[in-house]
Amino acid sequence: MADLRSEFVGIKSPNPFWLASAPPTDKEYNVRRAFEAGWGGVVWKTLGIDPPVVNVNGPRYGAIYGADRRLLGLNNIELITDRPLALNLQEIKSVKRDYPDRAMVVSLMVPCEEEPWKFILPLVEETGADGVELNFGCPHGMSERGMGAAVGQVPEYIEMVTRWVKASTRMPVIVKLTPNIADIRKPAEAAQRGGADAVSLINTINSITSVDLDLFAPEPTIDGKGAHGGYCGPAVKPIALNMVAEIARDPGLSQIPISGIGGVTTWRDAAEFMALGAGNVQVCTAAMTYGFKIVEEMISGLSEYMDGKGMTSVDELVRKAVPNVTDWNQLNLNYIAKAKINEDLCISCGRCFAACEDTSHQAIAMSEDRTFSVIDEECVACNLCVNVCPVENCITMEAMTPGTTDPRTGKVVEADYANWTTHPNNPAATAAE
């Protein structure tokens, strides 16, 4: 079994699976259960300055579902902890004392002034916590009070607050980024300038998950009204992966450690985040959907995968895919593939045909007896048939061998790499030589 021990900005944990700052990490009771279940660490739900905030007393979550009510996306309007600061600090200390090998990071959100930070940081340090995470991301409730995303959307504020925090604590400082911005690199750069030890992303995305068509109100609905909340869960994973990769492949940011967050549900999701540059991952919605036990699958799955790849430490996986993330204009236009349908696996549902015929390139033929085959003369290898096919690996994309002729264009497939920057149709093309 592969060694999953992780060290992130000097914080050690038995595995790279942390619970994100969120409802599952709000109390000693939950966190003890999480550690018993095997989680490598937690980011304790965000602390603030007393008096504590209050939450709504109606529904806090809204959801969207896939087939069979599989929860794909969750939206929440819960605020930071609504319990007194002293109680949280006492519980953090108690849990950390009993689980010294687990990562205990404390999320913080206080007003955008230096004094409150100077006040709270020594209190957190006193608990024995391993680090702090600055919550610059919460998109609802707190941002209206000038905290959370209201700070995270202004790089200058991020830099300023990070600097204050670094000056007031010896603990590692992780800056949590909001995705509700145009370019994720700007707040990451600001955090780096302020001296952050790492960034974590993504926080939740501004969202309305659904509308009650009887009440004509967004859900979750509180007494007939609804407010936007923060979206998370499997549905946000692609957005989070891209933002992690954007930071990881930016030359100016490539040295800053990243804690990956956003829809991590299985070991595979975690591995993908790590391959794109995350040193570890944080999980919330999957635990809220299935309970803490899922970490067992994450541990066994990542371990089996690493064994299969001959990796002995998680650091070998981190950033493994970063060199292959590029810009569109660098993609090889001489690479030519064609869809191929495996008739033995095909169940003849015809979804590939409908998709291609109605919405794409009319490159799939359907016979009287419902045999489906690709018309190479028309296929542009768009992949839509692969995506809509209900049977895994039934349709595959097969690369054409250089030297053969593409029946669609009548041109010989070139072995050489050539991208858009040198393409004759590009008005701004640079000479190939």
């Binding site: 069979d68 009510r69 169940i347 549902c349 015809g350 979804r351 045909f353 209900p390």
Partner: protein, 440 residues
């Protein structure tokens, strides 16, 4: 345990009085809303879906399942009923495992098709239990059509004609409408008077007059109908039961399976229906299975179904065969009855095993029997009918017979399987042709 369990002869009350309700409860209890959503989520919404092709009434199955999945079961019901006005009954009695569900791509993928039949029932029940009738009658055309037989073919034809604005009179020899839906289907397949409720619901279209106790050949004649109406549709059932051709088949206790099934359906209390201790059913179709299973449910100790060919040649589906086996019916293949023994009443029935060419092997089988049900097929009765093809009324693709102005469909007409759903399709298609003929 009832005292009468082992009693020889034909008697009622072989089971404890409390046991009957369970025995004859719904074979497939209706899906609840959660089960329906889970089942609907499995549909792939196939292109030009094979299930539609496999349905004799061409119901747009992927569409109605998507309508269920998106929370609009009444819209789903309308999708079903616009193609098949007896979609509720077909959801209960169709051999879906040989039709839509056999064609379902998930049958190919996982051996577990989408539960199309049960979903269809979910949608149609949802609409019909509110008493809603989703169709409106067109402006009356002044044309009058006679329909003979208030079974699936006749009622389907009548409804479509009425919807198009024609005036329809439906004649049926029996006291109640519904045909085999009312008299010929196992009790556990259509519980709680569903057949009657469906007819009542269907009649809400308006423009249909029902004349029960009106038999062709006795109370009405084809000549008379032809003279009195603008068109005639024949949708009678098959009134005659084929004989065994075995010695002694006139003995007491040798009965027609269709009568047994009808008596059970019409019995106010199934506990009052007498049944033998040792029952033998002869035949290999749905009627044979329905009779054998219900004999067992009534408490018969030994029920044997004997069919002259192999299992693969039985008209009853594999599902029906398995159902019978699971209820404790013994199925014997490759045997034909040669003699019924007994002094006045049947006591024993003797079979000879036959080979694949139906040639006797000389090997004999004797089964104890105090009741024998014949289920070896029914035949069309009556004379002065349009030209026949084989033993049924010859029709073309839209139900036209050899006589101008007379259409036919359902069991009495040539072509198609003798299924409820086929009859509904034939009635509907004939109605459209009649309509085009009358107004075109």
């Amino acid at each position: 345990m009832s005292q009468k369990m082992f009693e020889p002869g034909i008697t009622a009350g072989r089971l404890e009085a409390s046991a009957y309700a369970d025995q004859f409860s719904d074979l497939h209890p209706p899906l609840d809303p959660h089960e329906a959503l889970v089942a609907a989520d499995r549909c792939y919404f196939c292109h030009d879906a094979p299930c539609i092709t496999a349905c004799p009434t061409d119901i747009d199955i992927p569409l109605f399942i998507r309508q269920i999945a998106t929370g609009t079961p009444d819209a789903a019901a309308k999708t079903i009923l616009s193609q098949n006005i007896m979609g509720g009954m077909c959801a209960r009695v169709c051999p879906t495992e040989q039709l839509c569900e056999q064609a379902c791509v998930r049958e190919a993928a996982e051996g577990k098709p989408v539960k199309i039949g049960e979903l269809q029932r979910f949608a149609t029940d949802h609409l019909q239990q509110q008493g809603k009738h989703p169709f409106e009658r067109a402006t009356p055309t002044g044309k009058r059509v006679a329909v003979v037989g208030a079974g699936p073919a006749g009622l389907s034809c009548a409804h479509r004609l009425a919807m198009m604005g024609h005036e329809v009179v439906v004649h049926d020899a029996r006291p109640k409408p519904g045909g085999l839906n009312e008299y010929g289907i196992a009790t556990y397949k259509t519980t709680n008077g569903f057949a009657q409720a469906e007819v009542d619901w269907l009649m809400q279209i308006g423009g249909i007059t029902l004349q029960t106790g009106s038999a062709l050949g006795a109370d009405i004649t084809l000549e008379g109908l032809k003279a009195d109406y603008d068109a005639v549709f024949l949708g009678m059932g098959l009134g005659g039961v084929n004989a065994l051709g075995a010695d002694g088949e006139d003995k007491t206790g040798v009965l027609d399976a269709v009568d047994f099934i009808a008596d059970l359906r019409q019995a106010g209390d199934v506990a009052q229906v007498p049944i033998g201790r040792d029952v033998v059913v002869i035949g290999g179709g749905m009627t044979a299975i329905d009779a054998a299973v219900q004999a067992k449910l009534l408490g018969a100790l030994n029920v044997t179904l004997v069919y002259r060919r192999g299992r693969d040649r039985m008209n009853a589906s594999v599902f029906e065969q398995d159902l019978a086996a699971s209820k404790g019916v013994r199925i014997v293949n490759h045997a034909v009855p040669v003699a019924v023994h007994g002094n006045g009443a049947v006591r024993e029935i003797e079979f000879e095993y036959v080979d694949a060419d139906m040639k006797g092997t000389g090997q004999m089988l004797r089964l104890a029997a105090d009741q024998v049900f014949k289920a070896i097929g029914q035949t069309l009765q009556g004379d002065a009918l349009p030209a026949l093809e084989g033993r049924k009324i010859k029709v073309d693709g839209t139900g036209r017979t050899s006589v101008d102005g007379i259409w036919a469909g359902g069991d009495c007409a040539s072509g198609g399987d003798d299924l409820t759903v086929t009859a509904v399709a034939e009635g509907r298609d004939a109605a459209m042709d009649i309509h085009m003929t009358l107004v075109g």
